[in-house]
Structures are given as structure tokens and as C-alpha cells.
């Protein structure tokens, strides 16, 4: 099967992720697929939370922290500025507190808690998590392509979703018990029934979002996950380990893309011995890949003569990849 066939045969799979170790070409492949889909008339959002701003690099414009930026017809790119998002979120919370209670200022100990939150490493993770949830549950675009930070992020994301979900369950249960006691006290006092517990509402809202996003990501019918690798020994080993992990988490791997394949034609030219050896070794690895992954490999992407940056180069690669 080819990459193109995979896309065409499963139009329901609107959530695409390219994963793999850093520097192997995920961003290139994500951008290329996004380009192709957009040119087929689909509305595509390509997004990333990588602070390295690789999308900005590849499109040669600064899109970091600017929300969905139109790159060309039907194609938008977004780089989530996690830090800024956290700051904005903190301000939102502050504003909410001021509105709810009519304070002039947020009480000091509350404010220092809010401020301190941004220093926690857990804050950044959970904020990124929440950002992805936000984007995924939107629904405006036909395709969502998530350019993941190195390897395990999807897994981490999913395992976090599971943990968060369990916590929310526990806390919700606790809150519901509290509500029962409220009702009992109200009955004794012959009061009207207690007003809705806003926290309970919030918890349910949070839970539904987390569930929605993790459901999407584990749904074979809606998500496609492509693993990017290059023909090198260590990478092949890592890929195999990752594949096992993924299956444990029910993340469906829809296929592999082998990138940076040195073109065989090079063997014929007058090239240095070093390069010839490399091609021979590459052949060995390619056979290995063929042997273990077989037709799960959807494409062998050649090493291009230039870095893939800018729309023209992307277009060129798209032509090669999706012919």
C-alpha cells in the first residue's frame, strides 16, 4: 500500500500523527502530507507543540504562538506556544476569580498559588495536554495533522489521559458524596434543594473533554499514526520497541515511512568509497525493514538534493510521495 492509498481508502481517518525520533523528518512528512491533502481540496490544520518551532522553519514564516495561520489555500499551520498559553490561562483564572467574587485584587495566597503553578514541570505537560484536547475536539477542519515532539509523546499523552481520567473519576465521586450530605442538611432545615454544584459541572466537563480526545486517538477508524524511521540500526531497534509499546496502549500504527533513503543511482556514479559503503549498508537495513515490516511500509522517501523548506520544495516532495 502506498501513502496515497492509505489516505484515500480511509477518508474517515481525520486525525493524523507522524511520530518518531527527533530529526528523522517527521515535520517534513507532516508538512508534505498536509500540503497534498490541502491541494486535494480538504481543509487541513497542521499543528505542533514543539518549542523548537520546526513548522515555522519549514514554512519559512514565523507562526509560533499565532494561532492557526493560513499557509495556502485550505492549509493552516499552528504552533502552540505553551508558555504563552499558560500565562494566558493564568490570567483567565484570575479574571474569573475577580468576576465571581467582585474583588479588587486576587487574594494574595491564591495569586501566589496561581503564579507558582507555572513553575511546575507538571504544569507545562498538562497545559500542552489541554491544548491538544482543545484543538482535537474542535471539529472545524477536515484533517488534523499533529506533528509530535519526539517518540513517546503520543503514548505519554494517552497514558496521561488515562491517569487524569481516573483522578477526575475519584474526585467526582467525592464531590457527589459531598452533595448528598448537602442535600441531607437541606432536608433537615426544610430548605429548597441545594443549587447545582458548579464544581461538579466543571469536573464533568473536564472529564468529557479528556475522554473525547483519548477516544479519538485510540479509534482506528478516526486516527492514523505513521511511524517515521530511517535505515539505520539503532533507529530500527527503537522503532520496534516503540511499536510494542504502542500496541499495548491500543494506539493503531497505520504504517511506516522510511525517510532519507539514499538513492541507489548513487552507486553508479563516481562516488567516494565511504558513500558506496553507506549505500551497501543501507541496502542491508532496507532489506531488514522489508523483512520485518513488509508492506506496512507505505513509502520510501528519498534524500532530496536540498533541505525541504518552503512551499516549492514541499510541493516537489509531495509529487514524489503521492504520485
Amino acid at each position: 500500500m502506498s501513502l496515497k492509498q492509505v489516505f484515500e481508502s480511509q477518508p474517515g481517518r481525520r486525525y493524523i500523527m507522524f511520530g518518531g525520533k527527533g530529526g528523522l523528518g517527521k515535520t517534513t512528512l507532516s508538512a508534505t502530507s498536509a500540503f497534498w491533502l490541502a491541494s486535494q481540496g480538504k481543509r487541513v490544520l497542521l499543528f505542533s507543540v514543539d518549542p523548537q518551532a520546526s513548522l515555522s522553519d519549514i514554512f519559512q514564516r514565523d507562526i509560533f504562538g499565532k494561532g492557526p495561520v493560513p499557509i495556502m489555500q485550505n492549509l493552516w499551520a499552528q504552533e502552540v506556544d505553551a508558555d504563552r498559553r499558560i500565562r494566558e490561562y493564568q490570567d483567565e483564572i484570575r479574571k474569573k476569580i475577580l468576576d465571581m467574587y467582585g474583588f479588587d485584587r486576587v487574594p494574595e495566597e491564591i495569586d501566589s498559588y496561581i503564579a507558582a503553578a507555572s513553575a511546575e514541570p507538571a504544569m507545562e505537560e498538562s497545559a500542552i495536554f489541554d491544548a491538544v484536547v482543545d484543538i482535537i475536539v474542535q471539529g472545524e477542519y477536515d484533517y488534523y495533522i499533529y506533528d509530535l515532539v519526539p517518540l513517546g509523546h503520543a503514548l505519554y499523552y494517552l497514558s496521561m489521559a488515562k491517569v487524569y481520567d481516573e483522578w477526575i473519576n475519584k474526585i467526582t465521586k467525592l464531590r457527589e458524596e459531598m452533595r448528598q450530605y448537602d442535600q441531607m442538611a437541606a432536608t433537615m432545615r426544610r430548605q429548597e434543594t441545594v443549587e447545582e454544584d458548579k464544581i461538579l459541572e466543571e469536573l464533568r466537563y473536564i472529564k468529557s473533554r479528556i475522554n473525547a480526545s483519548s477516544q479519538i486517538l485510540t479509534d482506528r477508524g478516526r486516527t492514523a499514526f505513521f511511524f517515521v524511521l530511517v535505515p539505520e540500526e539503532m533507529i530500527i531497534l527503537d522503532t520496534r520497541k516503540a511499536a510494542e509499546l504502542f500496541s499495548r496502549f491500543n494506539v493503531p500504527i497505520s504504517g511506516y515511512v522510511v525517510n532519507r533513503v539514499l538513492p541507489l543511482e548513487l552507486r553508479q556514479d563516481n562516488v567516494p568509497q565511504y558513500l558506496r559503503n553507506r549505500i551497501v549498508m543501507q541496502q542491508k537495513y532496507l532489506e531488514k525493514i522489508q523483512g520485518t515490516l513488509g508492506d506496512q511500509v507505505l513509502a520510501y522517501v528519498p534524500e532530496m538534493e536540498r533541505d525541504i523548506t518552503g512551499l516549492p520544495m514541499i510541493e516537489k516532495l509531495a509529487e514524489r510521495l503521492f504520485k
Binding site: 465571581m100 498538562s126 433537615m188
Partner: protein, 88 residues
């Protein structure tokens, strides 16, 4: 002379009031746990993912000061509820 309302209130104090207090007591215990599980890192216990803890924070603003005071207050065992028993 005594109106009806004060007598009703007296009667409530004599009968149902203790149940109300008990229900609120139990609720408060649970609330303590709830607070630890959500914004526990305020007292050094990291638990709920910060982004969601922050989200719940506005609703807990009023309880926070009192909860912290409660957690910090050193309590003797004879200040437990049981020791306030009726009947001697």
C-alpha cells in the same frame, strides 16, 4: 410572651439540629480530602494536573483560607467531635 417562632426554633435545636450538624461535619471531612486531591500542592501535596487544578480554583477561593487554617491547626485528640457527648 413567647411567640410560636422561638418555640419552633427551640424544638429544632432539640431535635433535628444535631443531624444537620453531623451531615455538615461529614461533608466537611470529605471536603478536606477533596481539597487535598485538587489543590493539595498548596500545602505541599502534588496531585491533580495543575491545569485542571487551576480550573477548579475559582470555585474554591473562599474555602482555601479556612482549609489551610484547619490543616495547620494542631488538634488535641480530645478536641474530636466524639468528646462532646451529651448526657453527663
Amino acid at each position: 410572651m413567647l411567640g410560636l417562632k422561638p418555640i419552633q426554633q427551640f424544638w429544632y435545636g432539640l431535635t433535628g439540629y444535631e443531624f444537620t450538624r453531623h451531615a455538615l461535619d461529614m461533608r466537611r471531612e470529605l471536603e478536606g480530602i477533596f481539597m487535598v486531591l485538587t489543590v493539595g500542592d498548596m500545602v505541599g501535596v502534588p496531585v491533580l494536573p495543575p491545569v485542571y487544578a487551576l480550573r477548579l480554583l475559582p470555585y474554591l477561593v473562599l474555602e482555601v483560607a479556612q482549609w489551610k487554617r484547619e490543616m495547620a491547626r494542631r488538634k488535641e485528640f480530645w478536641e474530636k467531635k466524639e468528646y462532646d457527648f451529651q448526657g453527663v
